[in-house]
Amino acid sequence: MTSTLHRPTPDPTPPAPAEEGRSARSLVDAVFRAREIAIGGALALLILGTWLANPGFLDDQGVKDLLLNSSILVLLAVGQSVVVMTRNIDLSVGSVVGLTAFACGHFVAGTDHSALTVVLLGIALGTVCGLVSGALVSFGRVPALVVTLGMLYIIQGIDHAWAHGEQINAANVPDGVLSLGSGSVLGVPYLPLISAAVLAATGYFLRTYRSGRELYAIGSSPDAARLAGIPVRRRILAAYAFSGAVAGFAGALWLARFGTVVADAANGWELTVVSAVVVGGVAITGGTGSVWGAALGALLLTTIGSALVVLKVDSFWQQAITGVLLLAAITTDRVVQVRTTSALRKRSRR
């Protein structure tokens, strides 16, 4: 019935919204939901399987560990996906976590500063790092990969020079700060609650605010975004600032959780974070995906790690599995994109 679309005879009443149109939308919806459902399903299977093999995996402590272990990665994944959505990448997050954790530890060692002060300090420090990367990428027009890789090494260097082989010991960290990492409400530890709150707020923001939508637009087509009058560079700067802030927050939480911090804490995490985001359906080419998917991706990667420990499998396998998942995710992204494009094209022309 939509063949009336291209008839030369203008009819006064426009045709009703097409059946095809509706199914085109649901097709696309289905594709994206499918990703989240697939990851959710894999996660459930993994947990179930591991629990059957070792019931200890899901006792109180086991669940608590799982939540605690994943919360920092989830937090970082949320920050990273906001950057990846704009067709950029932030490889410096691991080093920012390391730096802020150490800096916060250094700052509170032997004092009785409150948890809030430490968190604020972490966020401020992370934001500064993010702003530097962001400014170079957006206003300096240096490719994101180069900038953030450079930042990764610079921050790591600063961190090592500063730490000089020292480490922060839990004994020196005030109890108020440590209780942020170990305390809980109604049996649920603070950390996952914090991550969930950041996740929900970010997800809501990206969906419901103009500037949130503009981040997707920038990733989908930077040229079109410029022509649409979107302040592209400011938005990208903001995305990096956010990613930095979140990484700084995560650094403070790292200190609160572990107490003992060495200079290269979270070393190498950037790749895990990017993997989580991509596995979770945020396309590395920008414009699609959600923080919810990214969080699921982070949860999945953490759970795989924990499950392998419980199952007493060599930890080498964890990396191999992550790699396989990553390749699978990128391949699916590509295949799905090609498939939906041709499906949509058919619907458009009929």
Binding site: S221, A225, A228, Q337, T340, R350
Partner: protein, 509 residues
Amino acid sequence: MEKPDKGPAPVLALRGVSKSFGAVRALHDVSLELRSGEIHALAGENGAGKSTLIKTLAGVHRPDEGQLLLAGDPVVFHGPADARNAGIAVIYQEPTLFPDLSIAENIFMGRQPRRSAGRIDRKAVHRATAALMSRLGVALDPQRPARGLSIADQQIVEIAKALSFDARVLIMDEPTAALTGGETARLFAVVRTLRAEGAAVLFISHRLEEIFGLCSHVTTLRDGRHVASEPLDGLTEDDLVRRMVGRDLDDLYPKAAAEPGATVLSVRRLTREGVFRDVSFDVRRGEIVALAGLVGAGRSEVAQAVFGVDRADAGEVRVDGRVLPAGSPTAAMDAGLALVPEDRRLRGLVMEMSIERNIGLTGLRSVRRRGLVSRALEHGRAADWAVKLQLKYNRLADPVSVLSGGNQQKVVLAKWLATDPAVLIVDEPTRGIDVGTKAEVHRLLSALAADGLAVLMVSSDLPEVLRMADRILVMHEGRLTAEIPRERATEETVMAAATGRTAEKEPTP
């Protein structure tokens, strides 16, 4: 400088504006006045500077010299947002959509209606989009993503975008290039309503009949310079062409009737489920066969299936009697087929690569020396074609993306003509190409046919089809409905078959 004028100050004006890109002077001391309630045409050859002028008005380019006047006052636009806030709506020559986002989001990006606390009012966005779509008379679902839209539909979304806010000035850069007659008529009706409401409109097209049908004034550019600004009343098409080209144009001449030779391309019962069915035809040496029909009738899809870009579900394609393997463009090229695709941005060009490399891409074999690509051969070949097609460029090493829209189209043509094919399939060969070059392209195709090339031409430009084709195959809703020989081809017979009103004659199997 303009003479002191009659009415109130123009809504938007350019005064003495110049703009260069490196060594290229795209605009040189150009002035233009847009008045409320007036539809103004901008004419000029490919590369004359029309799109550059528009981008200057839109805040994309900042003029090197000269001024922009908004209601008589000088303004500086720091970006597209400034121009938009000043009530200037622009439809760019190339669609600028976000493929991952819905049509509704594409239209309202950055300007979504909001509820309390700055939250986007999703329902209002969809309502407004649906209203725009019905105003334009199209059935596009506001919530489907822009990815995969046909060029015509992309253009519709661009138009909807421009209409989505109360523009004082509406600027349209070749909005009709990809539209059918019906869609164009609908667009013009909407534009006339806007004019009646007091908007100023600037309109670009290479189709003179559209300029004369819609506009009251015209400004002509040649090589970035201002040639004339005048009312269209009393002007003839020839006058306008002379202003654009700077000389009288030879008559657009029809294809010389050639004695067709042996059959080279023969297509039998080609079918692609849900797109086209049971398509059979032959093309002989020296013959130009047009595939006519409405947009969406499946013409481009047939062309792509013949070339193997899309895999056909059934049927066969033979070149010189040998069956082509299905779905293999490489095999098709080896057999001597060439396809000039419809969507040059997507399939025709590698935008970041240089002009010469783009032209060279299809002929990597012929410019190879001892297994390596010879830059000198590649350059020579490109230079050759650039002259033949009157390409307007700075250096052959420049990326294709800096060429004007029409000149990009010429590069696509050159790229395929350079393969020296036995069968040339061209999809909309002159879309966006100026009158002078159009005649040149027609002359070239005709000459190539006379040398024994077989041409299959998909075209929505009826005059072009009637002038060029030895035979016209008409498609309607995925089927071949008529085969009309040159002698009986008229606008009426073709349109009748295209709209499915008559079946002229069953095509020969």
